[in-house]
């Protein structure tokens, strides 16, 4: 019965183990006991049903929704979907057919193909025929996704495929062909629902294409190689400086749960830190049920003061993503502070509290650059002038109750630093921290004057991903 203890691993077990190692390399913690459970689980289900195997392994090895993306990716690599494989002939000789696609003289043929291809694709998407769409995804990779490398090997890339047709254009075409292109208010609702449906199907189509490309890469280079290359950091480890639009979206969705978790954790800490003084009235009241024996003493809770928070954020291009997430997180945590005020600057400063107070962060971020006056001269970061402007207009906002956070990389484009402002603000505030999204070893290099500013703060803290940000915020609260 115990297949695990037999010493020799079966092929399946070896695969599961490979997957475990790959997950660990991608920073998903998989305990030994999890791996053993995964192996036991894999003996209990029908291995021909790939999706069952996926769920069985996921339930034993993935214990957090943010790890699921990495798992699905790696699962596809180590347990490729055999049923989407093209006919044997094509797979065995990858150089033969796709090579023709960019031989120049067949260019005309390719152009006609793509029109026919798109016509069929549009039709299938409208019908919602998933099997046909999956087939078309394979065809698209085969015909449009190939690139011949210098060594003569053929590689497949998603960007090649999407150079031939973009999904936004397809969506427009779908809407037109289903007679939903007007803006007649009569059927706005139907149009919205139709559009959602098409978007969903196109997303599925794109995933099919990406999966097919991965499958081909695995075939050529082996699973471990592809897994190494594709491994992306988990959402909470993504570097603020290097996030794609899609990853920003993932991170944005994590903000509120993160804020909720932080709030719970802080509440627990506060509840624990009783000051231990006996609440005599309550204790006597309790003792009545035990015949006057004070068996259940009650204690008074300490009153906590909530800090007042003021943020001053550099929202210029280079650090915008970081500023956004910090703004969102602190405003999502509004309840934990007695007051939150936020200011944004590029080369001059403006208050943006009201944009975030509505609770609609997406909208607030959009209006950050239109409704707030953050640009004065040329739209290049100017810490010196912004600090000076802040000091002139808002210095009164900083009181001994205030915790002041400054966010930015301190890259001042070689302008005046006006560090005296910080010195003065530090005197006024309870605490002054500076959060810097750059790696510590870059501080003070080039046009960064981070180390000069750091001298006037209670600490300049490296804050490169959501995890570090959350750790810091918890400390301040």
């Amino acid at each position: 019965m115990s297949t695990v203890a037999d010493g020799e691993l079966t092929g399946l077990q070896q695969r599961v183990l490979d997957l475990v190692h790959a997950l660990r390399r991608a920073n998903v913690p998989v305990a030994v006991s999890d791996a053993l459970d995964a192996m036991r689980a894999s003996t209990l289900i029908d291995l021909l049903e790939r999706e069952q195997l996926r769920e069985a392994l996921a339930s034993t090895m993935v214990k957090s929704p943010s790890h699921r993306g990495a798992f699905d990716l790696l699962f596809d690599i180590y347990f490729p979907n055999r049923s989407t494989q093209p006919v044997a002939g094509e797979a065995a000789d990858p150089d033969a057919e796709p090579g023709e696609a960019f031989d120049g003289d067949t260019h005309h043929q390719e152009a006609r193909d793509i029109d026919q291809f798109l016509a069929e694709l549009v039709m299938r998407v409208m019908q919602g025929d998933e099997a046909a769409m999956r087939r078309l995804a394979i065809e698209a990779v085969e015909n449009f996704g190939a690139v011949r490398g210098r060594d003569g090997r053929v590689n497949f890339f998603a960007y090649r495929v999407f150079r031939n047709f973009n999904l936004g254009g397809l969506l427009r075409r779908l809407m037109t062909e289903s007679g939903m292109d007007g803006d007649d208010p009569q059927n706005a609702l139907t149009r919205r629902l139709m559009r959602d449906e098409f978007e969903q199907r196109l997303r599925r189509f794109r995933e099919d294409i990406e999966a097919e490309i991965r499958r081909r890469q695995v075939e050529q280079q082996g699973a471990d190689e592809v897994a190494k290359r594709l491994a992306r950091p988990l959402p909470e480890d993504l570097d603020f400086f290097r996030v794609s639009a899609e990853e920003q979206e993932t991170m944005r969705r994590q903000i509120r749960p993160l804020a909720r978790k932080l709030a719970t954790r802080v509440a627990v800490k506060r509840r624990r830190s009783r000051d231990g003084r006996l609440d005599v009235r309550k204790t006597i009241r309790h003792s009545l049920s035990t015949g006057g024996v004070p068996a259940d003493p009650a204690f008074k809770a300490r009153k906590h003061h909530r800090p007042e928070l003021v943020l001053i954020c550099d929202v210029s291009g280079s650090v915008a993503a970081f500023a956004r997430f910090t703004l969102m997180l602190t405003h999502a945590l509004q309840g934990q502070f007695s007051k939150v005020r936020s200011f944004a600057f590029i080369d001059t400063v403006d208050e943006v509290t009201r944009l975030f107070s509505g609770g609609d962060f997406t909208d607030a971020i959009k209006r950050l650059h239109t409704d707030a006056k953050v640009v004065w001269l040329d739209g290049h970061s100017d810490y010196g002038h912004s600090f000076e402007a802040f000091h002139a207009r808002y210095a009164e906002a900083i009181t001994p109750k205030t915790t002041l956070l400054i966010l930015g990389d301190g890259r001042n484009n070689y302008r005046a630093s006006n560090a005296w402002v910080l010195k003065d603000l530090k005197r006024r505030a309870r605490r002054l921290y500076w959060l810097n999204p750059e790696p510590m070893q870059h501080w003070g290099t080039g046009d960064s004057i981070a180390d000069e500013y750091a001298r006037h703060t209670d600490g300049m803290i490296e804050c490169r991903n959501l995890r570090q940000l959350a750790e810091f915020v918890e400390r301040v609260v």
């Binding site: 996921a58 339930s59 214990k63 699921r68 427009r172 809407m175 609702l189 149009r191 919205r192 959602d196």
Partner: protein, 294 residues
């Protein structure tokens, strides 16, 4: 454990859950089945109102088991979850026979008669098929989580005055969490993990059709699509399945055969609980689609 309660395979699991009024998707079926076979607790995590608690109830029904439910909250302790000595009764007893020797009394007052069993102890001491539901486990304190660890791995409880009580019969354990805080690694490791999200279009439609059979097919389709579209928005409170069902009942009650903007405007308050959400939803449903997005 007798065999007739156990799930034989995935089809059997799915069929029995469906018969119990719960329409499972593939991950749910797989994990439910594995929970039985591996004898591990199932930890179900996901947003409020996706049917986590319902799943536990359906598992109980499908196995002909009794459901013991422990609702967690902040400050839940052993006394409320595990067992407690009925010290008032003990005091009465001591006062009643004051002239007896302490040794005799002591043996008396720490007997089963003075023990109040709470859900956790109850679940492991009963000799019938049991499903133990530990609801909203993310609400408890860390100390209590440690206590749960002991029970979930050994299925035994140590009562100092009485000795160790071992499980007569292993209960099927389901834990649910709304993810308000990260549970400890140790607890997660002892469980199979199921992340439950809002159901896909067809499944939610099926749920609406089975729970509110009066809804015509076309209306069900349309309202589920609208709800799904709204869940893509960033709302303060996304509509849950139970709110979808409420909305379906409302529409049937009011006699609407399909939803247009006017109907949406008057009935959205059933679906969404914040005024700002309603405004946002109406704007979203009426806004001309903007093809440049995407």
């Amino acid at each position: 454990m007798t065999t007739e309660h156990r799930f034989t395979d995935l089809e059997d699991t799915a069929a029995r859950l469906t018969a119990a009024g719960y329409l499972p998707d593939r991950p749910t079926t797989t994990v439910t089945f594995l929970g039985d076979r591996l004898g591990k607790p199932v930890l179900v995590e996901g947003p409020a109102g996706v049917g986590k608690t319902e799943l536990a109830k359906a598992i109980a029904t499908s196995r002909g088991a009794q459901l013991v439910r422990l609702q967690c909250y902040e400050g839940l302790d052993e006394a409320k979850a595990l067992y407690e000595w009925n010290y008032k009764k003990q005091l009465l007893r001591i006062q009643a026979d004051q002239d007896r020797a302490w040794e005799d009394t002591k043996d008396d007052i720490f007997g089963a008669e003075y023990l109040l069993t709470r859900p956790l102890l109850q679940a492991i001491t009963q000799d019938i098929e049991t499903v133990l539901l530990i609801d909203e486990v993310d609400k408890v304190d860390f100390e209590f989580e440690a206590l749960l660890l002991e029970i979930l791995s050994d299925f035994q409880v140590t009562i100092p005055e009485m000795g160790t009580v071992s499980a007569v019969r292993m209960p099927y354990v389901v834990l649910t969490s709304n993810n308000t805080r990260e549970l400890s690694e140790a607890l997660k490791r002892r469980c199979l993990y199921l992340h439950m999200d809002y159901p896909d279009l067809d499944r939610e439609k099926a749920i609406v059709r089975s729970r509110v059979p009066e809804v015509p097919e076309q209306l069900a389709d349309q309202l589920v699509r609208i709800v799904r579209s709204l869940r893509n928005l960033e709302l303060r409170k996304s509509p849950s399945i139970s709110e979808t069902l409420d909305w379906a009942r409302t529409l049937v009650e009011l006699g609407y055969a399909n939803v247009d903007e006017g109907v949406a405007q008057t009935t959205l308050s059933v679906l969404l609980k914040h005024q700002s959400d309603i405004e946002k939803a109406l704007a979203h449903l009426q806004a001309p689609p903007d093809p440049s997005r995407n």
